[in-house]
Amino acid sequence: MAVQQQAASRVAGTQGAALPVRRREASLWADAWRRLLKNKAAVTGGIIILIVLVMAIFADTWVFTLFTGGEPQPLLAPQSYEKQSLVDNNVVPHWLTVVFPTMKPVGEVGGYAKLSDKFILGADYNGRDLLSRIIYGARVSLAVAFVGSFISLLIGVVYGTISGYFGGRVDNLMMRFVDVMYGFPDILFVILLLAFFRSTTAAAEEGTLRGFFTMIDNSMGGMFFIFVGLGVTAWMSMARLTRGQILSLREKEFIEAARSIGTFDIRIMTRHILPNILGPIVVNQTLDIPRYIATEAFLSFIGLGVLRPTPSWGAMIVDGSEAIRTYPHQAIIPALALAIIMFAFNFLGDGLRDALDPRLKGSD
């Protein structure tokens, strides 16, 4: 009886009877997404990145003023990052003196810290609100992360695809060039670039090319040359990775089949090869982002980062380090912010790598 019922319902199904058939989507990306969501660390990292992204975008009403015009007003940040109040320099809210017991407020024995509850996290040496600067500082870190990735993908993937797909002498030449660039100390190049364009004489020249770039740099708060420097150093590992992936894919039968029916090379590259190598590229890029953020922090550390008063977590750590014994929170809080965002990207990248690992296919 039961068997007949089962057989009947099966037959009914094939004849289009109202039995909804639900299948789990089984593409690579759907599997990877499901696996990623199970990885708690990766999910935490992703949520943190989202929060920082919201913080960066909505720090002030910049996105809205793009449409309505006018000056951006602080939105999530309590006030603008550059508003100084020298009367309030280095003030400390009460709860911070509890967390950092060595910061004794005025009135106790050996006390020096001015108490004021005007700023939630206190103020820096110029009386600027630390919380606002942290929120605005997220913009620099995320901009560096995304623009760095974008440039690295744009230049690196295109370069690597051309090199890997066409092979032969083209590949040889292109890879030798990458090898030479690899051996070059990139920090040296970035520092020279920045020192050249940022020197005081550069600002004076108006009509020349150098003056033009310096003007762009100044108008962007110093971000332009950081992007250039990052772009120059970031594309090479992506190019090598792409080329390696393509070399292994190139000989597969489905590519041969596509070529045999006369598909144009461009179409093969975009439609067949690129979607298949997207996995390792995405993973590698996510794991490279902490390196971009660290590079920007390092450049700010040596004074070649974003121009003052644009806040960047690296620059805030440098400023805070000078007062580490008296006002430790001025360095610790940006340091924690930097550490958290790098953690987040690392967790996400590791999670993506495990999720996209083809050896685990079908294991959930």
Binding site: F100, P101, T102, F184, P185, I187, L188, F189, I191, L192, A195, F196, S199, T201, P290, A294, A297, F298, F301, I302, L304, G314, I317, G320, S321, I324, R325, P328, A331, I332, P334, A335, L336, L338, A339, M342, F343, N346, F347, D350
Partner: protein, 335 residues
Amino acid sequence: MARYIARRLLWLLVVVFFVSLITFGFARAVPGGPFSAEKKLPAAVLAQLEKKYNLDAPLWQQYLSYMGDILIPRITGEAVEGSLLSDYLINIPLGSDLTFQWMNFGPSYKDRSRTVNDIFRENLPVSFELGFYAFILAVVVGLPLGVVAALKQNTLWDYLAMSVAIFGVSVPSIALGPIFIWLFAVELAWFLPSGWGSWRQDVLPAVVLGVGSSAVIARLTRASLLQVVREDYIRTARAKGLREGVIVVRHALRNSLIPVVTVMGPIFAFLVTGTLVTETIFGVPGMGKYFVGSITNRDYPVIMGTILFFAIIIVLANLIVDLMYAWLDPRIRYT
């Protein structure tokens, strides 16, 4: 083997030559000189300075005289006096008033009272010591961490060890330095926050510097050991009845160390040649600031000196690493 080492040392000279050429050309190609960042000097003074430091000669002449000062030893009968332009690293008295002198790296344009050799003599040992401690820490912490994580894969020990590793890799010394200073030097007051000399001052910078490298070593050791432990000969060793500890140390570890040792060479070179960030945060008088500062100041002899030194250290480190391959894996043989 001796011929192999000799060949590699010869190759070192070639690499030094190319690095010096490229660095020299690059440093000179960017406009701005060592004296253009200060207040505007009168033209006559500028000309005098350039003549004194040989900056008005054609570039190839400057390059050859610079390399000649470094590579070509000389024997002088004059009294050995240290002047800014003739400070040699190696001074061996040969008796009867003659001295054998070698390796003059030139004066520093920015620090007018010092030569590059002075910088090497004073700041290099500090950087070397700091890097050495950091390296020892990285190996002593990273290797066991990686081994434990691999042997107890997917257990609590593995997750703990790898969390420490991710922590070390994620947080740069820029962020970690202030946090450690506050926690251990200001708050708990176990150590001193800056300076160099006593152990109370040395511990924190060495730890901050070494944490990142120990994380890299731990992850690499774990990945490599995981592969080796699945090999057939390990199974044979277990079948023979050897204890697990003996198997791990005598068979598995030695075979899994090749990728780890590969990466330890450059790590040692990076740690030892001075790191700007850690040295600045902790006030360690090392060479890191000369690497970066000389570029901003266009201090050509210091740029060349520091980068040449770095190149030599890296090539030597790689040579030692390659020699260790032969010890780790007897199948590797060098002719």
